[in-house]
Each structure stands twice: as structure tokens, then as C-alpha cells.
């Protein structure tokens, strides 16, 4: 063999050392390559133990030696020590197969490589010279693999700790929690989710929302998911669900993104907060409020029996107009309440002025004009979730600023007050009063039309006309 060939073999062995990152793969590849070059059928890598014994950390080619992996092994000094790199004579190893010859390659760090042959080799020493430059690299590669594996083990342990902590956390959370990938397939859920919905983790895994919810609900879910993914902002929405017993309950569904180690979006995590009791309580409070307001309203009727039923008529018409204008339910609720109590300030006006069967004198009218402020003052003491006091304060304001008490104009007057202004006027004009006869509906609407944009909001007047044309009528009671 010439120098070029020798260099080629050294390069071949050196290249195979650099390719592996785990110890077992490294030792497998290196042993295979050494066996290839030496034509030996069996190879061992042994690691020295602190007590001086060895253990086999890799064996190829001999089933009985492979079975001894990890077992301590006492080697005689002539095998483990000495400078010779070839061993002649039966090597005392476990198993029944005799090996009269071996290459013994010492690797820094307490490792020993034995390449075993059933035949005595002729060129042993020459081959050892070829191998010696490789062994230093191999020692460093082994150390790197060990370090890398220890690091990987630590990271794995940390990962397991983190996973267990997360599992405990999810288990401890008393509300249903789920998470899914960016494609919308469920990955997992916590035990509370299973407890409430009756869907196990295994059943949930890989499913999409349309496989576990009815189509209309699934659509909304999917749209919310898309919105979270698009905006990268948390989303929450209310909806109802059926529990495992088929009972419908209200939930507040929180959704947010979670991210992988590279900071890329990995999926959506969601939590379902049961708000059924809160909703029921809210509804109860709202009912109480409506009943209280209704009681206040009846107090006005007692003060001026001649206008009995006015508040109800204004309430109904204002709501009809509000619905026509497509106000949300939350705002309609406030509008209805304000309409019921818009005249509550009249309680402060002497009853004889209210019931006087003639047209009011200016000084009396000035007293009447105080009722929006008086009503607002009364209502401000109640913490409504709607601006009831403001609506009541503004319900006699005109679009051109000629109204009272503040002389506000157009958009400075809240929409609910502008609606009540129209509904109140129509109800008043079409009702009998001690000092005048009821105006016909035609005349009343003519009046509204005439002052549309002046006293009344034109859009509200048009809405009022539209609901009337659609068949709306005042109740007779």
C-alpha cells in the first residue's frame, strides 16, 4: 500500500467519524468502518469503569457479546494494558466463539476498541499505524456525543417537567380548556372539559369543530378562530352549549394563540367560562329594574289620571321606532326604560297645574318646563347601565336648539331622546286633554312632518311613519 492509499483510508475513517451526533450511531458507524477495513467480523467498544473493570458499550457481529452490553467485564492486563496494538492468543471474552487475534485500539477517555478475528492477521501492526491518527478525533467525537446526549437528556427532563407542570395546571383549572392546531384540529383538552362535555381527550384528538358541534355553532367557532389567527389578538364571545346531560348552558369562550419554540403560531388555546348563573342573575336584576320603573311610571299616572297610559304608549312606539332603526337590543332596553320614566320629573309639578282644564299660562308652562331636569335629577341617583338620566333630560330638546332645558341642537341630543321626542309628541297630540280635543292621526303626522328637521329628527319621523304604515297602532288601554 502506497502513501496515497494510506492517506485515502485515513480520510475515509476520519470522514465517517464526523457524521454522527449520538454515541450509539457514532460507535456503530465507526466500528462498521473499522471492521470493513480490517476484514474482522466482530468489533467491540469498551469503556473503563472507575474500579478498573470494563463494560461493553457497543458490539457488532457476535450475538453473545451483544447480549453482554452494559455488563461489567474483567479483562486481563495483557488485553487491557500494554503498548501492543495487536493481540495474539485466545482473547478471554464472554461467549463461546474463540478469537485468537485482535486489533486493540486505545481511545482517550478510558475507551478500548477491539476488532476481533477468528484468524491471525499478518499486517496488524501496519494497520495500527494507519488507525492511530484517527483515534484522537474519535475520542473527541465520543466526548462531544456524550456532552450532546447529556444536554439532550437535561433538555428532555426539563421538557418532561414542563409538560407535567402544564398537565397539572390544566388539571387544576376548574373550567374547560382545549387547544388545537392552526388547521383547527383539536390537540387536547383538560379533564374538566371532558367532565362537562362528555368528550374524552382521545375522542377530541384530531377532530375539527364541525365534527363535534352543530353546523351553525361550528361556523361561528371557525370564524372566531380565523379572527384570532388573523388579528393575533385574544377574542371572547358568548354562546350556549349543551353539557353531557343535554342541558343548555351559557359560556364565555376565551380564545388566544399559543406559539412554538421558534415563536411561530402553533395553534389556538381556548377556555370556556360557565356564565349561566351570572346571566340568570343579570336577567333577574333587569326584571327587578323594569318592575321598579313600571312602578315609578304608574306613580305619574296616579298624579295625572288624564294622561294614564301615555308612558306605555310612548314606550311601545319608541321601541318600535328603535327597532326600525335597527338599534341593538342593549340600547333598546335603555330606550324602553327611559320612555317609561321620561315624565317622572312631573312628580315635582303641582297636580293642579297638570290637571288644569285650560291652556297653561306662561308662568305655569315655565314650571312644566322644569320636569326634564327634575326627572334627570331623580334618575341620576340610580346607577343604570344605560344613560337614562341624560335621555330624560333631553327628551324635550329640539333639533334647531329651540327646545328645553338646555337648548341642545341636532347630534348633541342623544338618539334615544330624539326618538322619545317624536313618540311623546305623537302620543300627546293624538290624546284628549282637558283643554283640547285629540288631534287626528293625519293632522298629527302632518305636524311631525312639518317640524321634521326643526323640532324632530327627520330620520326618526320617517321611521315613525314607516312603522305606522307597517301597521303599528297605539294600544287603547
Amino acid at each position: 500500500m502506497n502513501n496515497d492509499h494510506a492517506m485515502a483510508i485515513v480520510c475515509d475513517l476520519a470522514l465517517c467519524i464526523g457524521r454522527e451526533v449520538t454515541l450509539d450511531a457514532l460507535l456503530t458507524k465507526v466500528l462498521q468502518r473499522f471492521l470493513f477495513h480490517c476484514a474482522c467480523p466482530v468489533g467491540l467498544v469498551l469503556q473503563q469503569l472507575p474500579q478498573g473493570e470494563y463494560k461493553i458499550i457497543k458490539a457488532i457481529g457476535d450475538e453473545q457479546l451483544i447480549q453482554q452490553h452494559g455488563q461489567p467485564l474483567v479483562l486481563p492486563a495483557w488485553v487491557s494494558d500494554g503498548e501492543q496494538c495487536t493481540l495474539h492468543g485466545p482473547i478471554p471474552l464472554p461467549g463461546s466463539r474463540p478469537y485468537p487475534f485482535a486489533y486493540r485500539l486505545r481511545i482517550e477517555g478510558g475507551y478500548l476498541m477491539l476488532l476481533l478475528s477468528p484468524r491471525a492477521e499478518q499486517e496488524g501492526e501496519q494497520l495500527c499505524h494507519l488507525f492511530s491518527p484517527i483515534l484522537g478525533n474519535l475520542a473527541r467525537a465520543i466526548q462531544l456525543c456524550r456532552d450532546s446526549e447529556q444536554l439532550a437528556l437535561r433538555q428532555q427532563a426539563e421538557l418532561v417537567d414542563m409538560q407535567r407542570f402544564n398537565e397539572s395546571l390544566l388539571k387544576a383549572i376548574p373550567i374547560p380548556v382545549f387547544y388545537k392546531d392552526v388547521e383547527g384540529r383539536f390537540i387536547s383538552c383538560n379533564p374538566t372539559f371532558t367532565q362537562i362535555t362528555g368528550i374524552s381527550k382521545a375522542e377530541l384528538l384530531g377532530k375539527r369543530v364541525d365534527e363535534i358541534l352543530p353546523p351553525e355553532m361550528a361556523d361561528e367557532y371557525s370564524q372566531r378562530d380565523m379572527e384570532v389567527l388573523r388579528s393575533k389578538q385574544p377574542q371572547y364571545f358568548e354562546h350556549s352549549l349543551l353539557d353531557r346531560s343535554g342541558h343548555r348552558y351559557q359560556v364565555l369562550n376565551f380564545k388566544d394563540l399559543f406559539y412554538d419554540h421558534q415563536g411561530k403560531v402553533a395553534g389556538i388555546i381556548g377556555a370556556l367560562v360557565d356564565i349561566t348563573h351570572i346571566k340568570e342573575s343579570e336577567q333577574h336584576q333587569r326584571t327587578l329594574l323594569f318592575q321598579t320603573i313600571a312602578a315609578l311610571s304608574s306613580a305619574i299616572a296616579h298624579k295625572d289620571p288624564g294622561t294614564a297610559g301615555h308612558e306605555r304608549r310612548v314606550h311601545d312606539l319608541a321601541l318600535a321606532i328603535g327597532q326600525h332603526l335597527q338599534l341593538p337590543q342593549e340600547r333598546l332596553d335603555g330606550l324602553g326604560l327611559a320612555a317609561m320614566v321620561h315624565n317622572i320629573g312631573l312628580l315635582q309639578i303641582p297636580a293642579e297645574i297638570l290637571t288644569r282644564p285650560r291652556e297653561l299660562r306662561p308662568v305655569e308652562f315655565e314650571l312644566i318646563k322644569l320636569h326634564p331636569q327634575a326627572g334627570s335629577d331623580i334618575l341620576q341617583q340610580i346607577d343604570f347601565p344605560w344613560p337614562i338620566a341624560t335621555i330624560v333630560l333631553q327628551h324635550h330638546e329640539n333639533m334647531d336648539g329651540s327646545g328645553y332645558p338646555q337648548g341642545l341642537q341636532s347630534d348633541a341630543i342623544c338618539l334615544e331622546a330624539r326618538i322619545i321626542r317624536v313618540a311623546d309628541s305623537l302620543a300627546a297630540m293624538t290624546a284628549h286633554r282637558p283643554f283640547r280635543r285629540a288631534m287626528s292621526l293625519t293632522d298629527a303626522f302632518a305636524q311631525l312632518a312639518r317640524y321634521a328637521g326643526v323640532h324632530y329628527d327627520e330620520q326618526v319621523v320617517n321611521a315613525c311613519l314607516a312603522v305606522w304604515q307597517a301597521g303599528y297602532r297605539f294600544t287603547t288601554s
Binding site: 483510508i9 477495513h37 476484514a39 474482522c40 477468528p118
Partner: protein, 376 residues
Amino acid sequence: MTQPSFCLFDTRSLVDALLPYRGGRLDVLLAEQDIDRVADLQQECRQLAISLSGAIFPRLISRQGFHDRGAWLLPRPSSHDPRLISLPQNDDADRLAAMLCEQLAPRLAQWPDPARPPTLFLTFDAMIPNIASILEGIYLRLADRVNYAGVNAGSGQFKAMPCLFDNQTLTDQAVICTLLPHNSYPFLEHGYQLMAQPMLATSTEGNKISFIDWEPAFSRYQSLVRQQFQQTLTQAQFYQYGVHLPLGLLRANGDVIVRIPVSVTEEGALLCVGEVPDHSILTLLKAPHSPTAHAIELAGKLRQHGPVDTLELYYCAGRQQHFGQQSELELSTLFTHSGARELVGALSLGEIGSLRAGDYPLFHNGAILCNGATPS
């Protein structure tokens, strides 16, 4: 047990040829030109309750030399039990080796005497690109629980072709695994030697060498042929020169593993039967000069095991191309010196075994594989 027989399909009825093997087990070596006889063979064997296992080779070998047509009918003992196993194309070599070992495990567990292990004889479809790696994977798992031998079957033109069959199936991308009894002793010899300076396969993938010494592989090979033969090599002539000037993987003990390049891709990469590991150091090899020296040596090794009755032999198609007419002389020398009474065999497209008994098993090209057996 009945003796092997050579069947020429046009001179004798297939049923008559198969009748002596009724109810038994039969291995068939079928010449490529008679591939359309597989269906008849399968049908007749089913009717005669013969367990069939077969492979298609470019040509067959007998005492009379090479045969383009015909089939060797080789009766086997019932313990032979060959298995035809498909190898999914997308699986890597380690996974395929694991799968094969898993399928062999129950039979090995039942092997009567582990101290006298069987020879695992593997007949691969030659178009499988990672046979050497599969063999390494099998050796990692089975170690010395078996001895190793094998050949590649397929087309002499190295085209994809179903080449392995049993009673029902004719398939490609597969291997037939057979456990031969302990008294079988395969020997392998090639006689190729180092010639030129080493070269580095700078880009390889499985059995494809894309670059040698950072030059496109075919271009580099052309320049080597120009140096040796003063000829400009074309792609069409490629295999004719490849058999005389194969590439080799150098071993530290001085041996070489032959890789005969068999074709050139459109990109100028060389395709071999058997892998060339990444960044391998390749050398140009000198094909053996004497058609008798290695035959005599091999026959001597065979005789050391005692008298040979039937010599089963697989002779690399590339070696036959190299020696031309003289390959018959190599065969007859081997046969005569072995003292065998019968010679059966085929041209193979790759050979598995060890150059010395008990060596690390490897996948070779350009070799003669003799599968002898002492009387059991």
C-alpha cells in the same frame, strides 16, 4: 432427493420436467430470455404441489458453459423454506433490514442448533439501490446467528424487470431469503486489484456517483479511460469499458470491493450495482488477467471442505463480459479442480459474501460465488 435438472422449454414438456419433483420444494434459476415461462412454471408447480421459488438471471451456467435460454430446476429439502419479501421503495435501508430481520426472527428462533448456524442466502432484485446498506443493517441485527451469502437477479441490461417469483407472484423490488443448513459453505473470489491513484467520490447518493474529484463522474471516468486505453469513451460503450476498468472501494487490509459502473445518467453520473458510501475513496481497479488462477484457488478452498457433489455457482455478468470467451475456461477450470460431479448456476448482477471464511460480510461485484455443501 432427486437431482438438479436443466430444462430447455422447447425440447421437453414442462410437466414431464417437473414431474420428478412432485410434492417437493424446487428452486428455479430461469434465463432472462425465458421470462414469459414464469406463468407456466407457476401453474404447473401449483398443480403438482411443488413449492416454487425462483429468480431470473441474464444467463445460466452448466458444465457445457453459458446458456441464453432454459431453467435450472434445483430440488431442495423441506427445511429450505425460502421467503419472497417485498421491499417498499421509500423505506430506508435500516428500516428494510429491520423488517427482514423481524420476518426471519421466528424461523431463527426455531433453528434446531444455534451452535451450527444456517447460511442466510439473499437473492435481491439487482435494481434495489441500497443492497450493501441493507446487508449492513441485517448484520447489525443478526450478527453471527447466520452466515451470509447471496446474489442479485435481474436483467443483463440493468433494466427494471420483475425477476423474483414463487408459486403465485412474479415481482421486482424484493428479496428471497433462504436459510441454508449449516453444512453449506459459500466462497467468494474476484481477483480485482488496485491500479491507479485514489480518487474521492465527492458526491454520491446510494448507488449513484455524481462527482469524482469534484468533476462530473462520467467526465472524470472518460479521462481515466483515455489515459488507460487511449480511447474516447461514449455513453453507449460505457459498460464494455466499465467491466475492464471498474471502480473499487479500498480497504486498509489491501482488499478492494469492486463496483462496476453499469450506466450513465443524463446528468453524467455513474450508476453502480451496490452503494458507494458518501465521500468514499475510490480507486480504479485492474480486472484479473488470468482466467484460471482464481478458479484454481477457489476450487482449492472448496476441496478443503471435502468432496463436492453439485457445485452451485454464481458468476458476475460483468466478469463474464471482461473475460469474454475465456470465462468458459475459468468455469471449466473451477469445475474440474473442484472435483464436483455437476455444475449449476447463473450469471449474477452482484454477489454477497466474504473473501475469507468468517470475514465481515460485504456486497461485491465482479465475483464468483460458489455455494458448496458437505453431505449432511
